[in-house]
Symmetry: C2
Subunit: 311 residues, 2 copies
């Protein structure tokens, strides 16, 4: 969106995240333009790393870069516990500012332990997660201590977001699809479960998101979440049959927004057909929107899905 690009020309991504007025403004930009059914608070997945003791920045072309990646047990023991009302004050303030402006629900979010740990350990994006997996296999106790700290932070942070006004929360385990099911079960599932258990009494809908999770869906469902995210690699009907009695979110291939409109809408119809009108389908992309996506296609897709929902 041009209005977002205009802000980014003046402010870094982290400035936007750390300035409540700007984060609120960026949160509202898409819902002003497009008839979306929800808004998600503008923030960055990695934000918790800095107050825990791992500063990072965004380096053009390389994405996030953690200045001193976490590698040793001493690094893990040095991670600081977080008081979310202090550490995330600007995000919580942005939530309070945005809520009265919205006619649709506001969603809060946090990164899941594996995804945050992988950034902390690899120091940024990774193609193979070799350092994270090495720590996991070589020092399972240290790995579990790290993920325990991240899970505590995640639950506390989401609770603070709910207190500040979000009406649903999403746990992003974006990179967990790199793991074998056995490793997910041993090294990740207990920590994700702890997050959802800590949220159970809050009475807000919870969304559990991942990508590349074709063989992890049942294990993710068992970890928790009222809604299970499904990416485009799994036909939605097959995914839902396996997930069973839970809502699902997804699962249009985000790159279809770069396709001609006919193909885009035909594939949206295919997703809807596979959902079969069953209650509990949250139509969404299977992952984040690509930067080169034309705004008109997002509008056309939103209108089309609403139109189909009315018929």
């Amino acid at each position: 969106m041009p209005e977002y690009r205009a802000l980014r020309a003046k402010h870094s991504l982290l400035e936007l995240c750390r300035t409540p007025e700007l984060a609120a403004e960026v949160t509202l930009q898409p819902v002003r333009r497009i008839a979306l059914d929800a808004a998600i608070i503008f923030s960055d997945l990695l934000l918790p790393l800095e107050p825990m003791g791992l500063p990072f920045d965004f380096v053009k072309g390389d994405g996030p870069v953690v200045s001193t990646p976490l590698r040793t047990e001493a690094d893990i023991d040095r991670l600081r516990p977080i008081e979310p009302r202090e550490a995330f004050a600007p995000v919580l303030e942005a939530i309070r500012m945005v809520r009265p402006e919205l006619d649709v629900p506001l969603i809060g979010f946090v990164g899941a332990p594996f995804t945050l740990a992988s950034y902390a350990i690899e120091g940024g994006h990774s193609s193979n997660y070799a350092h994270a997996k090495e720590l996991m296999y070589q020092r399972p106790d240290a790995w579990h201590r790290l993920c325990g700290k991240l899970a505590t932070m995640a639950a506390d942070y989401l609770k603070a977001q709910v207190e500040a006004g979000v009406q649903a929360v999403q746990v992003f385990d974006s990179w967990v699809g790199a793991l074998a099911p056995a490793d997910y079960q041993e090294f990740v599932q207990p920590h994700v479960r702890a997050i959802f258990e800590a949220l159970a009494h809050l009475d807000v809908p919870t969304i559990h998101f991942g990508t590349g999770t074709a063989m992890l869906l049942e294990l993710q469902r068992d970890a928790g979440g009222d809604v299970i995210g499904v990416d485009w690699r799994v036909p939605l009907d097959q995914a839902w049959a396996r997930i069973g009695d839970r809502a699902v979110q997804g699962n249009l291939e985000p790159a279809l927004l770069l396709a001609p409109r006919d193909r885009l809408l035909a594939r949206a119809d295919d997703v809807l057909r596979r959902a079969g009108g069953r209650a509990g389908h949250v139509f969404n992309l299977g992952h984040g929107i690509l930067p080169s996506t034309p705004l008109a296609h997002v509008q056309a897709l939103t209108d089309h899905v609403h139109e189909r929902g009315r018929n």
Copy 2:
């Protein structure tokens, strides 16, 4: 291996690929050290891009970088057809040099159309394949023309490798797991099928490899290959049940070679247990070996799998 690092200290990766004596030497290094059951010719997946008209180089930290990525239909029409005996003379010469030195079969390989196209179009590694998918959706004819050229090259190159002496061939579709099954079927499967059909009369075993392919296995099998590669994200017994009457290759998580020996061997046993002693299981990693892997662990794993195979 130290002997490989010693060569790399003196020569670039592309020099090793383009100098038959060096490529032969690097091919032989692992089989001298470790009792492997096959050797794979040392080369690079991207090698065909340069003679087709897309020069590239390896940039430290960034991996391969194609100087002028392919973006337009004119770029596709400009791609040159290849005479493999000329274009790949050093690789074919390396094959002829290596064969008499080996007591185990020599495997040749080529990149599959999607994987090569993604490098050509993105200009290197990509996290989202946005440009490749945009071309695919926006200009299906151009996409099919591109993949047709890549499939013709792949088949001709593999035939030349067989003539030069390789005893099995592997088609690497390393990045195809980024696609939805419907897109695989429409945009990729016909071209991969054309490669395997062109090889049918050669009477050498063919291996069809991919990663992140949990939901593509049946479509890949239908495209061809005597052996279907399975990565660690899918339990091997489940994968094999779906693949049916075909051999399978895999599927140990490569990062387990960074684990303590007990965990490594226990997980290798789990792979073997899931294969259940059924004929037609090629034990292998689910993807390439990680650079930080200790050589002693590769030796221990190889010995262990051989030992188990004898019992």
